[in-house]
Amino acid sequence: MNNWPQMWAQFFRGLYRSLSVLGREIQGKRGRAVVIGVPLLTMGLLFVLPFVIILRISFSESELAQPPYSSLWQWLEGGYLTIKLNFSNYLLLWQDALYLGAYLNSIKVAALSTLFTLLIGYPLSYGIARSNKRWRLALLMLIILPFWTSFLIRIYAWIGLLNSTGVINNLLLYLGVIDQPLALIRTDFAVYLGIVYCYLPFMVLPLVANLMRLDDTLLEAAADLGCRPMAAFFKVTLPLSMPGIAAGCLLVFIPAVGEFVIPDLLGGPDSVMIGHTLWTEFFTNNDWPLAASVAVAMLAFIVLPTLAFEHIQDRRARST
């Protein structure tokens, strides 16, 4: 028992041998089938199938049962199958100002915070991409570091700063700039701030990757031909970085639209976002069919159009 390294070595040799025997068994066509099949089955079962289920449940009625929704089909006597589709959830979404308002508000908040993220992220990415190699890696690590700490903890940090007894208010009171604490938390401002803060790395990483590939000779050529740096930026750098901008905006906009945690902890009571509505319908009101139809509508009217738009942009960028 005192010879652990050797035992481990033997263990791994044995494992490798049995794996290669197994591998020989499933070579060629069958090996290919395994490599494609495992991810296909995993994602098919755990990701694609649930969407069919969501769609199904969105057409059922809420019931006081376990699980709390009605069945869509029923076998009647004599072998008749009846299918009952219930559109009232979707009608409610369309008619009740609460839901429509939540959709529109989510789009507005997500779009504006994506814009703010771009405005802060672009110069930052530009600076990182243009710095020398040694610095670049360190700066990128500094961008990624907050992203790897907990999402909740980063929002928690902002609560500590923005609270009425928080650091910012205390500082301003101490300096005598204000004599009443400002209402910073539970406002739209706090939601924008939270989204920009949490999603900034998603904007910066694709932008840096894009800007790093920028060919310096193009800018030199522009300068030689008498173009001022500012004009060169708008005529050369910005158009060439469009794919990076599109990728960054997509990575910020879509999760922001469905965001639950940030509006829940930083947002005010009158600015409701759709991810929050879905959560409340599900956990508080226990109305699963309505939550499912909120999800279907979010997919159909926000996520899929955004992805399609991105796809078209991407194709156009590649063809030119």
Partner: protein, 268 residues
């Protein structure tokens, strides 16, 4: 070009990094606060770390989160590597576009939708085949695998397409079987990237609140779920202490990953 950075860019970078780090620094500073108030300084103390050490619910939840993170990140690394292999080495096969889309879509799906879909899947499965009898750790892990696989696939695929395929081709020409080529040639070369992908998947898993809340059942409360319920009740310096530990661990992890990456670059 490099030296001539305008004052505007310098200012933007200073502002950007200050924006990213001031909240975290304030969090760390107040974790050493003597006072019970999170935002008023009352002297240096380590008592919140001691309180954290004796807080059994938080420690228990942290252990559960670590377990969920390790299992789901490992499963996702296997599935994602296979997916990346299929996407980068099998040429064009029927249904490739759909396959690629399926593997990357969870990344751009709002979390509430992923969570709801996982939960409704488990409920329906229970109705149809009686499994899973109860939601808990296993269902959280399965729900996480979906999201993490997407991230692992992206990382592994970009490494695989960057890699020089001539060694693999040479091994195949010399009669090595595809399986052996993968374990002897491909895997050692992509191992650092896979390790980075595993770490990324692990941190996403232990950080997740929304998907876990949907997929979880009674008794399985992960760390983010505990932190969230505490945050709703108000600020407590114990969370600051916890956050400081998380930041320290993550910073060490990032530094290690950077070292691995640099070693990998020099090997190339």
């Amino acid at each position: 070009m490099i030296a001539r950075r305008s004052w505007f860019i310098t200012f933007a970078m200073l502002f950007g990094f200050a924006f990213l780090y001031v909240p975290i620094l304030s969090l760390i500073v107040f974790s050493f606060n003597e006072s019970k108030l999170v935002t008023v300084w009352g002297g240096f103390s380590l008592k919140w770390y001691a309180a954290l050490w004796h807080n059994e619910p938080i420690l228990h939840a942290a252990r559960l989160s670590l377990l969920v993170g390790v299992v789901s990140a490992s499963l996702a690394t296997i599935v994602g590597t296979l997916g990346a292999l299929a996407l980068s080495r099998f040429g064009r096969f029927r249904g490739r576009t759909a396959f690629a889309l399926m593997l990357s879509a969870p990344m751009v799906m709002p979390e509430v939708i992923l969570g709801l879909s996982a939960l409704l899947l488990f409920v329906t499965l229970k109705q149809l085949i009686g499994w899973p009898a109860e939601r808990g750790l296993l269902t959280i892990m399965l729900a996480h695998v979906v999201l993490l696989t997407a991230y692992v696939t992206i990382v592994a695929q970009s490494r695989l397409t960057q890699m020089d395929e001539s060694m693999e081709e040479a091994a195949l020409d010399l009669g090595a079987r595809p399986w052996k080529v993968f374990f002897v040639i491909t895997l050692p070369q992509i191992a650092p990237a896979l390790m980075a992908a595993w770490l990324l998947a692990f941190t996403i898993s232990i950080d997740d609140l929304v998907i876990a809340s949907f997929a979880s059942g009674p008794g399985a409360t992960t760390l983010p779920m505990v932190i969230y319920s505490k945050m709703r009740l108000g600020l407590t310096p114990e969370i600051n202490a916890l956050a400081t530990i998380v930041v320290a661990v993550v910073a060490t992890g990032i530094a290690l990953a950077a070292l691995l990456w640099r070693r990998d670059k020099t090997l190339d």
